[in-house]
């Protein structure tokens, strides 16, 4: 079974500082990876996805992620965060039969 591990449960960061959220996956087959964001009192919104091709994936709101097959990682980055980036972030891998396996989540708190 495919799974993901998010290495940081909480990431506090100051406004305009860079942030990196770490995600490692385990898979022996083709990998399809996603990052979702969940703002307070909302559902999950897709930030970006990796299906194939370029290992650097650009998403919405200035986020990007790099797929690293040798390190089985898919870390999410943003060079300069805003207060509005305060949210829960989930890394996920497509399993099979329509199943998404989610990581435990990383809470990002942006402070002024």
């Amino acid at each position: 079974a495919q799974s993901v591990t998010q290495l940081d449960s909480q990431v506090p960061v100051f406004e305009e500082a860079p942030v990196e959220l770490r995600c490692n996956y385990s898979s022996s087959v083709s990998v399809y990876l996603f990052w979702y964001v969940q703002y307070p009192n909302q559902g999950l919104q897709l930030l970006l996805k990796y299906l194939s091709g370029s290992t650097l994936v650009k998403g919405i709101n200035g986020f990007e992620a790099e797929f690293n097959k040798s390190q089985t990682s898919f870390h999410l980055r943003k060079p300069s965060v805003h207060i509005s980036d305060t949210a829960e972030y989930f890394c996920a891998v497509f399993s099979n039969d329509y199943k998404l396996s989610f990581g435990a989540g990383t809470t990002v708190t942006v402070r002024a």
Partner: protein, 117 residues
Amino acid sequence: DTEVTQTPKHLVMGMTNKKSLKCEQHMGHRAMYWYKQKAKKPPELMFVYSYEKLSINESVPSRFSPECPNSSLLNLHLHALQPEDSALYLCASSRGDKTVDQGQPQHFGDGTRLSIL
């Protein structure tokens, strides 16, 4: 704005009540999902419908009963729930063609926050 619409946004019900959660999408997606999410936890898959047929039931108690009346609508009927069923219930959809759907993202609604008294 989300393309998956869930109603109601909030629901408070007693353990003996019967209520339904509704989900609607107009993206032409043929796979629809129900998830349960507890605070500070990732969503847990409950049910998957593919082409209006139930394809996955993750051993969910029978007090939760899903229904897919057509390709745009998904309901979750609730009866005799327990306090531990209080959670955010999320609906999602994806394209639904198994041969090409690998990697197609799921689109989520904003959820129904359910409280059981």
